[in-house]
């Protein structure tokens, strides 16, 4: 028996776990990420001479539930054509029966890493604003993400935002028109349909999907049937809290509905926005991601936010600050005028 060096053992381990793309048009480059459901590889598409990301289940799925979920994810992505949502290119099946899909290879940083690169509060809020836009678009298409967290959000070199990993997304109502899938030759529509009966796996009531600290209480209780857009609003609130605190919401005490613990220097109005998004009662949260985005807009424009009612004094102060140049000019005018009047008095 031959003796194997440590390096050879490592190469063999890697070789043993590699996916077999023999009968697809793709060539494997390297694994680039791993999620709860599968692994994402960087592959080359020689036909189009480009690199794409290929997501595949880690194991053949005897029960078919994970396969159906992966196909559902691809279909959700195909439906959500938006600059803030990673576009899907192709769906297929490996020789061993595992279903895969390919999508745009996103270059950039995950939000949790990006935030550590010394970005300003305004930059964070602009990115958050774009995130809200993408989620609001998905909501308009009746799709909930259900697992929004910094690890599922990519930020590109120019501040563009891409929402990733729609593996546990929920379609709020059945669609009259099923999106058409483009298939590789080895993955016929029949074979995928057979593996994905109904093409829309429903999460059983009582099943908990999501990430602690980012999922709302109703999702943590497994009340999947009751979830609506406000579940994602909660997660967006947790992401905002993360962006403001730089730490995971879960670490900040937001495991359930409790308020995050804030560090110093976080503007009260923004705290209030995040806390309102993360209210335990869905009815007390923003109704949608667009409403939350509008709040951030108000803050960025120096206007009061709905979540943080201000006293008359604060409002007056904000008014004066906003119109400070006019106020200063008026004051100067008044002082000069007063001096002139005093000087003219006999």
């Amino acid at each position: 028996m031959r003796w194997l060096s440590d390096r050879t053992v490592e190469r063999l381990r890697a070789a043993g776990s590699e996916i077999d793309l023999t009968h697809t048009r793709y060539r494997l480059i390297e694994p680039i990420g791993r999620g709860g459901m599968g692994t994402v590889y960087l592959v080359e598409d020689p036909a189009l001479d480009r690199r794409v990301a290929l997501k595949v289940l880690d194991l053949p799925d005897a029960g078919g539930e994970l396969t159906a979920r992966l196909i559902q994810e691809a279909r959700v992505l195909a439906r959500l054509e938006h600059p803030g949502i990673v576009p899907v290119h192709d769906v297929g099946e490996l020789e061993d029966g595992r279903v895969f899909y390919t999508m745009k290879f996103v270059r950039g940083d995950r939000l949790d890493r990006w935030v550590r690169s010394g970005v300003s509060l305004r930059q964070r809020l602009v990115v958050f604003r774009r995130l809200c836009e993408a989620v609001a678009f998905a909501h308009a298409q009746r799709v909930l993400h259900r697992d929004l967290k910094p690890q599922n959000i990519m930020v590109g070199a120019f501040g563009e935002v891409l929402v990733m990993d729609w593996g546990v997304a929920k379609i709020l109502r059945n669609l009259d028109e099923e999106p058409t899938l483009r298939m590789t030759p080895e993955a016929s529509p029949e074979s995928l349909s057979a593996r994905s009966p109904g093409a829309s796996p429903q999460t059983r009531h009582g099943t908990v999907l999501g990430t602690p600290g980012y999922m709302p209480p109703e999702q943590a209780r497994g009340e999947s049937a009751q979830l609506d857009e406000r579940a994602d609003v909660y997660a967006l609130g947790a992401v905002l809290a993360f962006l403001l605190g730089g730490r995971a919401a879960a670490e900040m005490g937001a495991r359930s509905a409790s308020k995050p613990r804030w560090g110093r220097g976080v503007p009260r109005a923004l705290r209030a926005v995040a806390e309102m998004a993360m209210r335990a009662e869905p009815a007390e949260r923003y109704r949608g991601a667009d409403e939350l985005a509008a709040e951030v807009d108000r803050f960025l424009e120096g206007r009061p936010v709905m979540a943080h009612p201000e006293s008359i004094l604060l409002r007056a102060g904000r008014f004066l600050w906003k119109h400070r140049i006019a106020v200063i000019l008026l004051l100067v005018y008044a002082i000069v005028r007063a001096l002139v009047l005093l000087a003219e008095r006999p």
């Binding site: 028996m1 031959r2 053992v9 063999l12 070789a15 043993g16 776990s17 194991l59 799925d61």
Partner: protein, 247 residues
């Protein structure tokens, strides 16, 4: 078309359930028991010897005696009867028993090579001696990690050997040679250089390498299943060794 592309679809890259050695040694059938013990001995003698030589710093003769005695006890005393799958990994259990044996060795000067009716085949200690110089001296406090590393080295070595035999028997020597060049040799060949050297197209290299790796993984998982105590341990080991989740 390359012959690998005509292979029937298996539906799964993972092996069917095979009896583990733990079940095998408890079988009423003498042949099954013998097979299980043989598998155990084949899989463990190298890491056991290396571990005794380097971790316990015994000389070659002492290490050979202790290895022979340990393996004899495995067979004779049916020590796996006390092993409880689920409480620890089989590998950890074996290592713990080995530590105990070596600790007691000084008190028990009498060495008997026993076999309990099974013949322990001649073990090529000389070949292992030649390999010891290539290993870094182990950390005295990292016995578990050292034993695991050596076990994994031996495990992959035996899988490669089985792959070679299987490729030869099925007339796929080129497949193995490509695998050998690309995945075993340190220099790190490229698909293009292999295509040139073997006078194949890049596509053929890709397909044949994929076949060899697929077979390598199948053999590894089959062997792993026999060398683990239960399904949970099998899954955990498959993930540790190959980074794969098995259903």
């Amino acid at each position: 078309m390359d012959e690998t592309t005509r292979m029937p679809r298996t539906g799964s890259p993972f092996p069917p359930t095979r009896a583990s050695v733990v079940q095998g040694v408890r079988s009423d059938d003498p042949e099954t028991r013998k097979r299980a013990y043989t598998t155990l001995v084949e899989s463990y003698w190298r890491p056991v010897y290396t571990y005794v030589r380097l971790q316990w710093r015994r000389d070659a003769e002492q290490a050979q005696d202790l290895t022979q005695e340990f393996l004899a006890r495995v067979v004779e005393k049916e020590f796996l009867g006390t092993y409880e799958p689920g409480r620890s990994r089989l590998r950890t259990f074996v290592r713990t028993c080995l530590d105990r044996l070596v600790q007691n060795a000084d008190r028990d000067a009498r060495r008997l090579k026993r076999g309990g009716g099974f013949e322990i085949r001649s073990l090529d200690f000389g070949s292992v001696e030649g390999e010891l110089s290539r290993l870094d001296p182990p950390d005295p406090n990292q016995g578990e990690a050292f034993f695991e590393r050596e076990w994994i080295r031996g495990f992959f070595g035996s899988v490669v050997e089985e792959l070679r035999l299987e490729c030869e028997e099925s007339g796929k020597q080129i497949h193995f040679q490509l695998f050998e060049r690309y995945d075993l040799e340190e220099a790190g060949a490229t698909y293009e250089s292999l295509a040139r050297d073997f006078e194949l197209s890049s596509n053929d290299v890709t397909n044949r390498l994929a076949y060899a790796r697929r077979t390598f993984r199948r053999i590894a998982l089959e062997r792993l299943r026999t060398l683990t105590g239960d399904e949970a341990e099998f899954r955990a080991e498959a993930r540790t060794l190959l980074g794969v989740d098995v259903s």
